[in-house]
Amino acid sequence: MTFDRLRQIVRLRLRSLVSGASVDRELDEELRYHLEQQIDLNVARGMTPLEARRAALVAIGGMRQTAEQCRDQRGFRGVDAAVADTRFAFRVLKRSPVFAIVAVASLALGIGAFLAMFQLVDAIRLRALPVDDAHELVEIRIAGGRGGWGLSDTAAEITLPLWEQIRAHQAVLTDVFAWGRSGFLMGSGTDAVPVRGLYFSGGAFSALRTQPAHGRLLLPDDDRPGCEGAVVLSHAFWQSRFAGDRSVIGTTITLLQQRYPIIGVAPPDFTGLEVGRSFDVALPICSAQRIGPSFARRDFWWLNVMGRLPARVSLAQAGEHMRALSPGLIEATLPTGYSPASMDTYRGFRFTAVDGSHGVSRLRTAYESPLWLLLGTTGLILLLTLSNLATLMLARAHARRRELAMLVALGASRGRLISQIVIEALLLSSVGVVLALPLAIAAGRMLVVMLSTEFDPLHVALGIDWRAAGVAASVVVVTALAFGLLPAFQSSRFDPLPVLRSGGRSHTVDRRRAALQRMLVVGQLAICFVLVVSALLFGRSLYNIIATDVGFNPKGLQVVGFGDPIMNQLPLAERHAFQQLLIETVGSTPGVQSFGAVSQVPLSVASWNQAFNLRGEAERLSAKFTYISPGYFQTLQVPVRRGRSFDANDRAQSRPVAIVNDAFARRFLDGHVEAAVIQTLTEAGYPPTAYEVVGQVGNTKYGDVREDDLPIVYVPLAQSPVLSTWKSVIVRTSLTPGAFGAAVRQRVKALNPGIWVRMTDLPAQLNERLARERMMAWLAGAFGVLAVLLAAIGLYGLIAYLALGRRSEIGVRLALGATRQGVVLMMLRESVWLIGAGLTAGLVLSFLLSRAASRLLFQLAPTDAVTWAGAGLALATVAGIAAVVPAWRTSALDPVTTLRAEES
């Protein structure tokens, strides 16, 4: 193809695209010239002017048709047609606003719900860390986890000595680094505020290829033994706390009574390596040594280790390398003070390498399966919406068939007719998606708020990224094709003549088309049944949890916790005395009815396992050990079943005693509590002791409401062998949390201004721990209602449509004396079949899907008969109403009107 020719082609196509009107005018003029010349010629040959004109027109084959054929020769004919079809679609939709609004609104809801869930799944599960070449990141951890071995308050997997070993010996990863999470107190004493901190090894930021927003980030030289420490602020914290003031770099910040220089600010998108959790301050790992010696312990797990995988090494190879190295690393870091069985467990640890590109997330563990389940649910809703729209479009196409027949008669090709209907569908779904986007963003934010708790604020970078945009775009296309193509093919396949002849009113609806709609309605009812069942299941599950007896009365309970860096410096004897003073100070606050101190507050994350023998038996057993002060059972209102409670006579020097709960008595003592002796076995820091059991109390939930009651041994606080942290004080008071908190802070400050106080409203905390269940119940409920609504619209539409097709038949029946009730019953017989088939299909579908939900339900089988019966009844009722209304309305017609309409 020569250049000249190419240029001409491009010029012509552009011209017809851009200035189509003037091209059309030229075409008109050209053809008119031809026509006039031909007429002149014909007249000259002796025809009358009228004959001449007719002959010329016949020869050219009609002005319009020829012009149309010439136009067809142009490039971009498809674009022209699409533009025209879009304009036409707009006009058509404007003519039926109710249909357009229902269609767009249900699409917006369906797509919005789906996109909202997708955003969350995307943010928590799919999206890689905002780090360059995140796919190279791998995490080194113990294969199968450490199973709760040792000390930790996080899901961390590595100790400091192990990190040092790994750094020194591994030879497969480049840029290995460690990081750990820790809470800090900024400022001092009672006025201190908690901030979220991260420890990083010196090479972490360069390994992550993170650039500072201001100042500098941590360097390898910042992280060496005996370091001074340095602080990098997160961008968000720098903005909120320091108002984005750059002069803050170079000043100092006080964290846990230590002063550190601020050296820089991290970039805005860097929120650490844990998805769902951000940080305020980052410090080098070495500075942990300044806070306490426990960070260096061989049994304290507080770090995560990551590195970059070189391109030539596979993940499996790296894992194998770490596995092979493990025995050496483990032998070099053996902890002391543990029983032989515990040591064997430690020696059995083997390292492996796992994909680290998505970071670490506690959130992911807790929410992954609910989120996928909810995404699936919204997918079903979307399916429901689509089939609903398909039904509506089918009914509409039928109602419009006269218009379509006219188009066919005027020469529209089948392809053109299909493209017309599909473009209409595309238009609807595009508008639906455009409306769905803000809806999805708002709903996504609401979900994050629902999942965030005071103690566990959720930081998820939501937003419509390329992946969500891609999903949205494909939803538009799939939607339009799904609910556009079906009716398009159906309604373009007909002979226009009978339709035009019958005046648009036929006696009966095309049977095949109605069959398709019936199938759609049955499918909708089936999906709807699944969603209603899931709504009821999650609602009942939440109710079961809320109604669960936790073993104590949480109403009016408040927890006072303490933080204090000076504690470790006190000698053990003084610690006991000071602790007692602190407890009394809180307990004597006016308005407190009763109080008790405890080492592990029930239903908090704290947990302590202790190995023991029963006297005279060799079997090694394990139970939860909790250290309490005398007022504990009375304050929590835990019933004392047998024997006595602790009192002031149970001192450090007196005979060691213990109280067990019902679960312990049943499981280990066969109910024979009296005179039992519990012999504890050595754990690090806990010397073996023989405790005589002096009483039995009721069960209380330990870590989680959903757990079974665990065996618990209570020991007097005064006889606790360790005092590394202050115990929490639980009080029962009628004061509001605010008033009580202020009073307690004032009293503690008067005692020692260096102690920091944390207040927790126990009922509120228990509530927060049910965030996941509440979310599931609310969302499943909302989706269930939405599903019922959509299915009702679908059924109503179908019955109304079927009734429309039978108007004349019904008119005849009524004219011949049929009663109105009889007509309604006749039409309902059809609906009963549909509803029955839908529910049956739903039953099967629910049964197949029920396993996905079983792990998320509490004290409820996913195939719970009552729930399923309830769902069936509710759905049948709504569907029945949706079917009766249009049937009743049709039977109210005046037979004369319908019959007359038939003749015209």
Partner: protein, 111 residues
């Protein structure tokens, strides 16, 4: 499309190109010329002439210009482009081959 069935596919294009190779013409003139030249044997309807002209223009083989006619009316005159000339040579050759082949077949002595 209403192409006359007795006109071999592509022949109309060839005829138009050949005609325009002699001189630039407007649509009506081409229509008249076709009827005269072929002695009314080739029945080309005016309805298929114009789509064919527009197609050739889109292909870049002919170009159009608005010019006054002999009786001083404005008309669209088509003329051959350089690539149109090449196309004419190509189509003429293939026509000759086709015509030769067909005539050879139909003039074979019947045994």
């Amino acid at each position: 499309m209403s192409r006359p069935s007795d006109l071999v596919q592509g022949t109309l294009d060839l005829l138009i190109l050949k005609m325009l190779a002699l001189e630039p013409l407007h649509g009506f003139a081409i229509s008249q010329r076709l009827k005269q030249m072929s002695g009314d044997i080739l029945q080309v309807s005016d309805g298929s002439l114009y789509p064919a002209l527009h197609k050739l223009e889109q292909e870049g083989w002919i170009e159009a210009e608005w010019k006054p006619t002999e009786n001083n009316r404005r008309a669209k005159f088509y003329s051959l482009t350089r690539s149109g000339k090449r196309q004419l040579v190509k189509e003429t050759e293939s026509w000759a081959r086709l015509a030769g082949a067909i005539s050879m077949v139909v003039t074979l002595p019947e045994v």
